[in-house]
Amino acid sequence: MNAFSQIPFRRKLRLVILATCMAALTVASVALFALQFHFYKRDYRRDLAAVAQILAEMSTGAITAGLPESTGDILAALKAKPHVTGAFVRVPDSKTAYGEFGSVPPMLTHTDLPDEFSQFDGELVYVRAITDGPDRVGSLYLVSDYRADSLRLHGLYAGILISVLGTSVLVAALVSVKLERFISEPIHNLAETARGIASRGDYSLRARKSAEDEIGEFADSFNHMLNQIESRDLSLRHEIAERVRAEQELQRVDQQLMDASRHAGMAEVATGVLHNVGNVLNSVNVSATLISEKLGIARTEKLEKAARLLLEHNGSLAEFLTHDPKGKLLPGYLVDAAHHLSNERLGAQEELTLLARNIEHIKEIVSMQQSYASVSGVIEILDLATLIDDAVQMNSGAFDRHGVTLRRDYEPVPPVPVDQHKVLQILINIMRNAKYALDEADPSEKRLTISLRKTDEPAIEIAIADNGVGITEDNLTKVFMHGFTTRKNGHGFGLHSGALAAQQMGGRLTAQSLGLGHGATFTLTLPLPADA
């Protein structure tokens, strides 16, 4: 069946026609052959019986005359019947064959056979009674080579049958070649149209309708379908064009958005830089003011006066120092002044060191922000307690001024690999926020608790809790958003960049508050390496 399915339609049709013709012809031929065979057999026997009857009647005279051998010239007439190969006459009570004609099987002459057709030694034998009136006077034996004869004849019939079949198939093939076009042509046209559409994608092609039959109907339906496909194709093309346009638009907007976000990113970086630098600058400013104040109230004026006194009494210094009441006080004063100046220098030096450290921090912030997206700062394994203390130190001036009580609650924790400046930036930010929160709430005791502990994660948690104004539940999630602030002159950037920095280190920054007036706790969680 598979092989059949590969054949083109036209050939299939031809095959079907031929197969049908062949089947019909074969059935008809076989039926005719069988009928012919039957008639031949019947006629053959009838003919033999008729010949036997004639010969038997002709032989009666010879037998009744007692001269059965004289039937020889009667039986000789059988040479006109080539299929009768032998014949003889027998008289009752005798095994002798008289009037023998042709060749007779030797045993047959001694065999009694009934008056009918029988097979003897492969030959068809017909026995006919020879009667004289009511009396049987003898038997006529006819031997016929029926088999050879029928074989020859049926061979001829078979030959005719085969040649008739062959000729019929040939004629059927010729006729079917002419006729199949009526059926296959419309289908061929349809297939051709379909192929054209498939190969060229040209949906404007239409099948030609050549008849009002089922195929014509099919062609109509096909064309109708093509109409629909064509209109759908058209709308699909429009849609695709529309999509392409939309995609281009999207790309353009995307580009714009990317540009915008790049600008925004740059702005964010700038804001971050400004904010952090601003924070540090605050400390720088405080340090500078302190130095300036300390230097402002320095006793250089009196020292100048003492120097001038010494200059005035240049010739009589010994007398001045020993006799003049002022001169007597001068050495003590100088010692006092020297001591005082030395103290001041120490204080200024301390403040300058802090200043230098702050300026270093600014430098770090700027360089860190320059590589905001890709480059993180240097990772160092540091003691977090020291780092917290540094941050506290940087804000200590402000805490002092605002009367903030600081409580440290450090548990011993292992050193962790961190980006020092990021952690500092985060802690300073939180502490500054806490300071503002405490200022706003202004409780009787402004308390800031910094705790450090190790969790089971394993991670290190730095929690900075205040009893300030607190955060509403709504704002708890918003505080880390870029640009969100509750302060009049805030930027809404500190916590945002802090949370980002914590994320970049693999940690997180979270906020907890029981609501307004209940204070707030900011927790920086930093992961511990697995082996720590």
């Binding site: 002709m58 005279g61 009744t64 005359a65 001269l67 009667i74």
Partner: protein, 192 residues
């Protein structure tokens, strides 16, 4: 009304004379004419033993014994024809001792009462004896002529033929009347 011409009357007269002078035998074959024809058939249908002929071309001799009413008709029927590739000679015999020399012996009914000695003369001489007497077969003859309802028929005595070593064709036997044929018996008809 005009008279026919004289010449036409003369012609009619001549025609009448011609018809009245024709022999009656020309209209219907006579008894011996028919017997002669049958004897010609016998010549074709009976074969003699080879010893009866001295050489291949020896003639078949037909002997006629008794009143001869047949020889002219026989000559007329046979003419110059050859039978079994032999010429035919017709002889009239008057002496019984000479009879064994012929092949076919026709015994006239004039000899009805002397058949015994005549047939005894040719017994076992392979002579086909043909007679026209009711007792001919009984006397040992082979073929006897019988006229049934105006048709000339014959009887063949098979045993006699066998005795004389004569081979008789089945076809001849086919049309023979039975030897026990009795013209007075009601169940025999000319149709047989």
């Amino acid at each position: 009304m005009s008279h026919p011409p004289r010449s036409a009357q003369t012609l009619l007269l001549a025609l009448l004379l011609l018809v009245s002078s024709m022999p009656a035998s020309a209209q219907e074959p006579g008894e011996y004419q028919r017997k002669s024809a049958l004897i010609c058939t016998f010549l074709r249908s009976v074969s003699w033993p080879a010893r009866r002929f001295q050489e291949p071309g020896s003639p078949i001799v037909i002997g006629i014994y008794g009143t001869d009413s047949i020889s002219d008709f026989l000559r007329e029927a046979i003419q110059d024809r050859r039978y079994q590739d032999r010429p035919v000679v017709i002889k009239r015999f008057t002496r019984r001792e000479e009879l064994a020399g012929c092949h076919l012996l026709f015994v006239s009914r004039s000899e009805r009462d002397k058949l015994g000695p005549i047939l005894g003369e040719v017994r076992r001489e392979s002579v086909l004896t043909v007679g026209e007497s009711d007792n001919f077969l009984k006397a040992g003859g082979v073929i006897n002529f019988v006229e049934v309802a105006g048709v000339m028929r014959y009887q063949i005595h098979g045993e006699a033929a066998k005795r004389e070593r004569l081979t008789i064709s089945g076809k001849l036997l086919q049309y023979a009347l039975p030897t026990d044929y009795n013209p007075t018996s009601p169940h025999f008809t000319a149709a047989r």
